[in-house]
């Protein structure tokens, strides 16, 4: 079986987790005997192609685009991009990209027959233009390789239009993969309707919709009105191969309780802070760390100061690469109190480092992690109780650490993609 897959990024040059997930998926599929052609807007050439063949959309000349495809592409052209519409991207990266893009002038470049379009493959302010161009080029690629695949698979809304174009031109079945939805990106009043429109269109046009959790599956069914019979959950996995365990010298003797992620409404930072204040009333030998950045960061800092706990509650700012591993290695407890989280890979990373985790029931990861402690995001007392227990009762800590480590090592893409293969098979 062969799959034409549309992605937005692929390691090593990634801004978020989408590329990492895609790499896990193509490798897992290869293990299950499924070949993939992986299309991305801007490949660098140093991607690992042992499990897939990468097609760089920037190298492809546009041709033979049917009028129906052009019609919908025209509708989405040149729209301004708002923040928070891309999955797994840290706001720092996003703003950096936006600033860079602002420096350039946004002139309409028409790409005609026989021309190439140079994609940035980033998440800049001309993202909408890139998304529609990607659809145009995607259609061309599908026609060029029409005999080389049986299924089309598109990852997140950025690539849905490309997926639709490929389906329209080749008549082959389309699977769209929902890594996040507009409803996870902020409150409903501020949803970007253009993104919502593309999402809806992609899910409607798809023969199967794959979601990263049942939580997301419910959103797809209830908010987007998609027929439940075509929505399938394939939980995310994580690839720890090649990961070296790092050891770091600890500077502080106290237990360290860590939150690592974007500091945005969706991640529930204020519940973590309130719980920290409650724990500090009962025990002093603990420090709290909020690692990351985001639009709620300043508010979080003020909350910490107001509660008078800033000598015990630290901010690191956005962490990159090795610093993330270092942070996990320094942690005793990991917290993910997300208000809404399609999946949430970070507790898996923490548990892989032997750090017991407390996560909210409102996260997709809660569906697969038996050995993480779980609370409702709003239940600050329960969160404080669990933190206190994990820093105070070594028996519990050791149990959660050991079992959690074993558990996440079992969450392999090979298993997840076997399920994905069944989804493909049901369509041929």
């Amino acid at each position: 079986m062969r799959v034409l897959m549309f992605g937005w990024e692929f390691p090593p040059h990634i801004a978020g987790g989408l590329g990492t997930a895609c790499e896990g998926i193509v490798k897992g599929l290869a293990h299950n005997g499924v070949e993939t052609l992986f299309v991305m807007p801007n490949a660098s050439g140093d991607e690992d192609q042992s499990a897939t063949t990468i097609i760089n959309a920037s190298d492809v000349e546009v041709r033979n685009v049917s009028t129906t495809v052009e019609e919908f592409i025209n509708k989405v052209k040149f729209l301004y991009v708002d923040s928070n519409i891309v999955p797994y991207v840290d706001p720092d990266e996003y703003y950096e990209a936006i600033e860079k893009m602002k420096a350039q002038s946004l002139t309409e470049t028409s790409v005609g027959f026989g021309q190439k379009f140079k994609f940035s493959g980033k998440y800049g302010s001309n993202l909408m233009e890139e998304v529609s161009r990607y659809a145009q080029v995607g259609g061309t690629i599908a026609m060029q390789h029409v005999d080389e695949f049986d299924i089309i698979h598109a990852h997140d809304w950025l690539t849905y239009l490309a997926g639709i174009a490929a389906k329209e031109l080749t008549g082959k079945p389309l699977v769209v993969h929902v890594h996040a939805t507009s409803y996870d990106r902020g409150d409903e009043k501020h949803i970007d309707t253009r993104v919502l429109d593309i999402e809806t269109r992609g899910m409607m046009a798809a023969d199967r919709v794959v979601t990263v959790s049942d939580l997301t599956r419910n959103i797809v069914i209830n908010k987007y009105g998609i027929d439940p019979s075509k929505v399938v959950t394939v939980h995310n996995a994580v690839d720890f191969s090649g990961r070296e365990d790092i050891t770091v010298e600890r500077g502080v003797k106290d237990k360290v309780v860590t939150f690592l992620g974007r500091i945005t409404f969706q991640k529930g930072p204020e519940y973590f802070i309130d719980a920290a204040a409650k724990v500090l009333k009962r025990t002093k030998n603990v420090r709290f760390v909020m690692a990351g950045s985001g639009d709620m960061m300043n508010r979080a800092i003020r909350q910490v100061a107001r509660l008078g706990i800033s000598d015990r509650f630290h901010f690191t700012g956005f962490l990159r690469g090795a610093d993330v591993q270092k942070m996990f290695a320094l942690s005793d407890v990991y917290i993910m109190p997300s208000v809404s989280e399609p999946f949430g890979i970070s507790p898996l990373e923490a548990m892989r480092s032997g750090v017991p985790s407390i996560i909210s029931h409102q996260s997709g990861a809660a569906e697969v992690l038996k050995y993480a402690l779980k609370v409702d995001f709003w239940d600050v007392d329960a969160l404080a109780d669990d933190i206190f227990a994990l820093v105070s009762y070594p028996a519990l800590t050791e149990f959660a650490s050991k079992q959690g480590y074993d558990e996440v090592n079992e969450l392999k893409w090979n298993g997840a993609t076997a399920k994905l293969k069944k989804v493909y098979e049901s369509l041929i």
Partner: protein, 396 residues
């Protein structure tokens, strides 16, 4: 009676903190950005301290000592001169040798200790006094608190520490209809004389001098001396940061020429120069002033909001001063020095979130992009310091 002009210049440089990350806590106890501190100090020495000291020395010589000034030099600044630019110290010593320059006393670390802990305040005042005696061979008798912070309560403490004169701001909300151009006494301690900053005339030089959209631009020494003469009181107190000359107001603005011409222009109009200590000997107080809530010379509000206006600043302030009693029983010079440097008011100033108008001024002087970064960095450093303090306490 002749009208007197009293010039006092504040000399201070903060001990800027390096980027201190969470990962450093408990591991690395060097807190300071030595490179930035050295670079900035050397630059300001070249642009301001050295040329301006030279200029003032000339003015004293030329007027045969009729020109006089007062300085307050923070301990933090003195330490940096000693380390990075000893020639600046030398040049201040030459000024001291004329006998026409008064050196004031302040908190050694340019701190907010007067608002937090009487014992710590006393300690820093005495440390500064000793240091000034040591460096310049004179004993300060006039006190000026950090950023001219003043209240009835502080007045009592200052008098009890042996000072008869104190400088503060002629804040409009305190003065009401009264003029700052007289000498006052403290309501809480009638034996303490107060010299009040004439902020209008002081800011004409410190802030407006090079502003070309100001309708009085360009300001000449003659014109300014005329304004001083028009003031209806006994004394005009011109208090400003020394860095005004050559740093805030660049050399190209003509600020040095202005200052070179000012002594003669003032004397020509029949006024004289006094230092604060002389002023209170010559001039009788006219009334007493009551200041229940602390005032300062900062921002439009002339209150403490530049340092303690938001919850970040208040929490950081509470956290460091909570250590005062612990440190009192620990005899560790290194800890004491860090404790002092971490008290510098500048660290709190960088955390100020008054973004409009005054916030611009804060931002200009801040090594941080945002007040939040300033807070995070400070608290990381302080967290390490607290660990060291607790450890030292356990060793006793």
């Amino acid at each position: 009676m002749k009208k007197s002009i009293c010039l006092y210049f504040q000399v201070h440089q903060p001990t800027r903190l390096r980027q201190y990350r969470f990962f450093d806590i408990g591991k690395d106890s060097h807190y300071y950005d030595d490179f930035a501190n050295r670079t900035i100090l050397k630059r300001i020495a070249q642009k301001c301290y050295l040329p301006m000291n030279e200029l003032l020395l000339e003015a004293i010589t030329k007027t045969k000592g009729k020109f006089k000034v007062a300085f307050s030099i923070s301990g933090s600044a003195l330490e940096q001169f000693d380390r990075y630019a000893p020639e600046v110290l030398e040049s201040f010593r030459r000024l001291a040798a004329t006998g026409k320059v008064e050196f004031l006393c302040e908190t050694y670390y340019h701190s907010l200790a007067s608002l937090a802990a009487p014992t710590e305040f006393k300690h820093q005042v005495e440390k500064h006094k000793a240091h000034i005696q040591d460096a310049f061979g004179v004993t300060p008798t006039t006190f000026r608190n950090t950023e001219l912070i003043y209240s009835d309560a502080i007045a009592r403490q200052v008098y009890d520490l042996g000072f008869k004169t104190m400088l503060t701001e002629g804040a409009r909300h305190i003065m009401g209809w009264q003029s700052p151009d007289f000498i006052y006494t403290a309501e809480s301690q009638p034996k303490l004389r107060l010299l009040l900053r004439n902020y209008g005339l002081s800011d004409d030089v410190a802030f407006r001098f090079s502003n070309k959209s100001w309708n009085e631009w360009p300001l000449t020494a003659e014109k300014f001396a005329g304004w001083l003469n028009e003031a209806d009181g006994d004394i005009v107190n011109l208090f400003m940061d020394y860095e005004t000359f050559g740093e805030h107001q660049k050399e190209e603005s003509g600020i040095f020429d202005f200052m070179r011409a000012l002594p003669a222009a003032v004397l020509a109009q029949g006024m004289d120069f006094v230092t604060p200590a002389q002023a209170v000997r010559n001039i009788k107080p006219v009334a007493s002033l009551s200041v229940p809530d602390p005032i300062s010379w900062a921002d439009e509000e002339r209150d403490l909001s530049a340092w303690l206006g938001n919850e970040l600043q208040q929490d950081a302030f509470n956290k460091i001063y909570r250590l005062t009693e612990k440190l009192a029983i620990i005899a560790d010079p290194e800890l004491w020095a860090d404790f002092g440097h971490l008290q510098e008011s500048d660290h709190f100033y960088y955390m100020c979130t008054k973004f409009f108008s005054d916030g611009e001024v804060h931002k200009r002087f801040s090594p941080y992009d945002t007040p939040y970064e300033a807070f995070i960095n400070y608290m990381n450093v302080l967290s390490d310091f607290i660990i060291r303090t607790n450890y030292a306490e356990q060793q006793i």
